[in-house]
Symmetry: C2
Subunit: 207 residues, 2 copies
DNA sequence: CCCCTATCTTGACAATGTCAAGATAACTTC
DNA sequence: GAAGTTATCTTGACATTGTCAAGATAGGGG
């Protein structure tokens, strides 16, 4: 038994994996994307990672624990998408806010199941610290982008709560309805035309 | 064996139930309300109806079949809530549209799990005829309410698709974010104040 | 009155999440 | 460097769930 397992290349060592946690997150994301929130299976994730069915328990307490970590990671990438849109947009406050809304929709279209996990599932533990931090970072970004509309210096005066909520609702509504394929007039369009229509609606409602 | 079962009062006959379909729908709604979409169990529904675990299969093909019927029933009551709000609102087109939006939110708050089943779940078969009919009735109502804003005679000229989508997005965004308890500034308020804030946001975005 | 069919029950099976116990490897401490 | 300790992973088990197949029961039409 000098070589306990000749081993496939990807598995680092025979027994101990090395970075199983990261592999499980990637496998979990793939499972989520392919099966959706409601078809998500922890044993399915373990199979993708080529690991035994009980292995995930040591890195995430249970299935909801893995989903909580995935949701937190989702919120971080969610903010990234918004920033990416804003970097190629005009610098005025309204254009920046519209761009953030476009990033909101972009994210929903790019990761439909993850979006549902983050916003329409109670499987993640929304009280968990990692998730709270990631989600509230996204919320703070929203508040700041709205504050800029009033010309406030960043972090100075808080915008009206109703303006924040109204802005959020419009972006979230568009994203969620796109995600469930309910905005029929937009479904046939190519990305450029769809983006133009979405941006127009955002600008109209936020201006 | 003259009396095969003395029988509790609610069960109509000893073996054949009588109106099990209706009882299952009610039990399914209770299960949904208490366990949520993701905790919904078909065997749990059967227990509530005091019936064997395989009984539902004869009235609904499978668990998703029952959920499909519940979603369709949900859309019918969804329209009712909107109409109820509109009856106690001013008659001008904008007030009527705002009232429909308030009914949208009312429904989400009154039936959180059902709302998620209808808008954020792929367990219902959204191609099923009963569900399509109920959902598109709600959509037609939206289109008509938006059309009235332009002063068009009912059913005459179609409103702009972007106006329809924008209106829908605002109402849906508010309802969905309320449903997931994300609009913090509104959570502490009493219903009267919350309604006032919601109506103000709707009116501002739709006017 | 008898058969037929819809309705409901019972029993079985595979899949799933979770727990407990054991195996293996890495790390610590001397 | 060796032994003990801990973290990591596997194996096996159990209850729960959705679904299917076969049998029991009853209501309705000939």
């Amino acid at each position: 038994m000098s070589a306990p397992k000749p081993n496939r290349a990807p598995r680092r060592r025979g027994y101990h994996h090395g970075d199983l946690r990261a592999v499980l997150l990637a496998a979990g994301e793939a499972e989520l994307a392919e099966q959706g929130v409601e078809g998500f299976s922890l044993r399915g994730v373990a199979k993708r990672a080529e690991v035994s069915h009980a292995a995930p328990a040591h890195h995430f307490r249970d299935a909801n624990g893995l989903l909580t970590a995935l949701a937190a990671e989702g919120f971080r990438r969610f903010v990234d998408k918004q920033k990416a849109r804003q970097q190629v947009a005009d610098e005025d406050a309204l254009s920046q806010l519209v761009a953030a809304g476009m990033g909101y929709v972009d994210f929903a279209m790019a990761h439909p199941a993850l979006f549902r996990l983050m916003f329409s599932s109670n499987r993640p533990d929304h009280e968990a610290e990692e998730l709270q931090i990631a989600a509230s970072a996204a919320y703070r970004k929203l508040v700041e982008d709205v504050a800029r509309l009033r010309g406030s210096p960043p972090g100075q005066s808080e915008p009206l709560p109703t303006d924040v909520m109204r802005t959020w609702a419009i972006a979230h509504g568009l994203a969620d309805l796109m995600n469930s394929r309910r905005l029929k007039p937009l479904l046939g369009l190519r990305k450029a035309e769809r983006d133009a229509a979405l941006a127009a609606m955002l600008r109209r409602s936020l201006g």
